[in-house]
C-alpha cells in the first residue's frame, strides 16, 4: 500500500533523509520510530504529497505521488504533527469542510461524520468551537479528520502527543482497531507505543533507516547478553566481586535500589538456578530474582546513540 523508493530530501544543502526505502503491506500497522529530527515528519510529508522528494519516488495505494498526486491524496488520511485546525470553526463545521475538500458526497459525509465523531469520542463536543477545546480533544479532532473519508491509508504523525495516559490508551486501541481495513503508518518517539500498537517497526536515525522488523525480532537481533535482576536483603558490599567470580557471568552492575543488582550473563545461558543457590548459600537473603528482557527502548538507544569515536 505504501512503497517508498530511495526517498531523499534536501533542505538547501542539508539532507533531511537519505535513500529511505520501505514498504507497508495492506492492513499492516507500522511504526516509524526515531528520535526528534530523524526525518520522520519529512518522510511523511513526502508520502502525503505535501512536498516532493529531491530524489526517489513513492507510491501510495497504487498511485505514484509524482504523477498521480491527486488520486494518491484521495486515498490518504493524514494527521500532521501540529494538528491542522481552524480555531474559529466548530468541530462539525471543520469536519464538514475537510469532507468537502475530499470530494465526499453530502449523504456519505453526514454518515461518516457521525461515525468518526462517535469513534473519536467527540459526541459531546461536536458543536464546540475548536479554539475552546483541550489539547486532547484537538488531537481527537485531528484523528477524526484523517479517518473521515475512510481512506485505505492512514498516515499519523505522532498521534498521541499531548494526550493524558487514559486518552493514549483510547487512541492506541482506536488505531489498533483500524488494522485490517486500513493500512496505518504512524510515527512516534515513544517506544512502548510502537511496541504496543504496531506489528512492525521501522527505525530511522539521522535520515537513514537503521533497522526494520517486528519489535520481538529487533530485540532478539540486538541482544548481546541475558540480564538477571536480583535483590538481596543483607548486602555486605562484596556481592559484586563474589558474583563476578561465577563462570559465565559477564558483568554485574548495581541497580537503582539498595541491594539490587543487574547480572549480565552470556547469551543463551540460564543461570537462575545457579545464582539463587549461590546467594542462598552465602546467607544474603534472596528477595527477588528475575530475567530482564531487552526492551525496544534498549534497541532504539543502541541504534540511535552514537558511541564516541565510532562515527
Amino acid at each position: 500500500m505504501i512503497q517508498a523508493d530511495g526517498l531523499t530530501k534536501y533542505y538547501a544543502q542539508h539532507p533531511a533523509i537519505v535513500d529511505v526505502s520501505f514498504q507497508v503491506e495492506e492492513g499492516e500497522i507500522v511504526a516509524f520510530l526515531g528520535p526528534n529530527g530523524a526525518g520522520k515528519t519529512t518522510t511523511m510529508r513526502i508520502l502525503t504529497g505535501y512536498m516532493p522528494a529531491t530524489f526517489g519516488n513513492a507510491r501510495v495505494a497504487g498511485f505514484n505521488l509524482a504523477e498521480e498526486s491527486l488520486q494518491a491524496r484521495r486515498n490518504i488520511g493524514y494527521m500532521p504533527e501540529t494538528v491542522p485546525l481552524y480555531p474559529d470553526m466548530r468541530v462539525h463545521q471543520y469536519l464538514g469542510y475537510c469532507g468537502r475538500l475530499q470530494g465526499m458526497a453530502k449523504a456519505k459525509l453526514a454518515e461518516r461524520m457521525e461515525y468518526v465523531i462517535d469513534r473519536c469520542g467527540l459526541s459531546e463536543r461536536a458543536g464546540s468551537i475548536i479554539g475552546t477545546l483541550s489539547l486532547g480533544f484537538r488531537q481527537r479532532v485531528g484523528l477524526a479528520q484523517a479517518m473521515l473519508h475512510d481512506p485505505p491509508v492512514l498516515i499519523l504523525d505522532e498521534p498521541t502527543v499531548g494526550l493524558d495516559p487514559n486518552q493514549i490508551v483510547e487512541v492506541r486501541n482506536l488505531i489498533k482497531s483500524l488494522a485490517g481495513d486500513h493500512t496505518v503508518l504512524l510515527s512516534t518517539h515513544i517506544l512502548p507505543e510502537a511496541q504496543m500498537t504496531c506489528e512492525r517497526v521501522i527505525i530511522i536515525n539521522e535520515g537513514e533507516i537503521v533497522a526494520e522488523g517486528s519489535p520481538q525480532v529487533l530485540t532478539a537481533q540486538l541482544r548481546q547478553a541475558e540480564t538477571l535482576l536480583v535483590t538481596i536483603r543483607d548486602d555486605d558490599g562484596t556481592v559484586v566481586r563474589q558474583i563476578k567470580n561465577i563462570p559465565e557471568v559477564v558483568d554485574v552492575r548495581s541497580g537503582a535500589q539498595r541491594g539490587s543488582y543487574y547480572i549480565e550473563t552470556e547469551v543463551g545461558s540460564d543461570l537462575r538456578a545457579d545464582i539463587s543457590e549461590f546467594i542462598v548459600s552465602r546467607g544474603w537473603g534472596l528477595l527477588e530474582l528475575r530475567p530482564v528482557e531487552m526492551s525496544l527502548e534498549d534497541v532504539f538507544r543502541e541504534l540511535t546513540t552514537e558511541e564516541k569515536g565510532v562515527a
Binding site: 491527486l70 493524514y78 468537502r100
Partner: protein
Amino acid sequence: MRNILTIAGKELRSYFTSPMAYVLAVFYLGITGYIFIAIFLLMPQAQTDLVRILFGWMMGLSVVIIPTVTMGLFAQERASGTMELLMTRPVRDWEIVVGKFLAAVGLFVAVIAVTLGYPAILEAVADPDWAMILTGYLGLLLAGTAFIALGIFASSLTANQIAAAIIAVFVLLFFCLIGTLSYSVSHSLGDVFKHLSVLENYGDFSGSSHYRKPTDYLGLPNSWWPLLLGENECPKRSQFEISRITTVPRADAKQAQLRKPRCWRKPASSADG
C-alpha cells in the same frame, strides 16, 4: 469548481465569524460616510466633485483595508499548520488560490455594496450622473481585485500576517505613487509609469465619464490621488483632467438642495473651470 466554492465559502464565513469583516466595514463606511456628509452638507459648493472625491477616498482606503483582508489568507495557514491540511487534500493548488481570491473579493464587494447608499441618497435629493457612478464602481472593483491579487501574493510570502500586510501596503503605495514620477521624467518613461500607476488608470473610471483607450483600464487606474493628498497640495493639479473644480455660486447652493441641481449631471463643457 466545487473545491473552489468550498474554500471560498469557508474563508468568507470565517471573515464574518471573526470581528474582521465588521471592523473593516465600520472603518470603511465610517470614513466614507463622514466624507459624504461633510461634503454634502457642509460644503455645498463642492458637490459637483462629491462623487469623484468619494470614489477617490474609497479607492485610497482600499489600499489600506485590502491588505488586512488578504494578509491572513496564506500567512495564517502557514503559521497554524493548516497549510498542510490544504496541500494534502485532493485539491489543485490553483483551486486553493482562486477560492481564497474569491472570498476576499466577496468581502470587498459586500463592503462597497453598502456604499451604494450614498448614490441612493443623491438620487433622492438630486440628479446624479449614474454613468459616472457606475464606471466609478467598475473601476473600484477592478482596482480592488488587482489589490487583492497582490495582497494574496504578499500573504503567500511569509507566515507572519503583519509582515504580509505591510508588504502589500508598501507595494500598493508604490504602484499608487509611481504615477507622480511620470511628470518629472522623460515622456516615454513617464508613460510607462503612468500605465503602471493604479491611480493614473483609476482616474479614468472615477473622475470622468468619457472613456479612454480600453487598454488603460486593464492596467492598474488617473488622477484621483491628489484628492487623497488634498487638492490644494497638488502642485501639478492642472495636469489632471479631473481635478478641475467647478464651483456653484453660493446663492444657488441652497436652492440646489431643494431642487435637483444640474451639477449632478455629467460634467458639461460649461462646467470646465
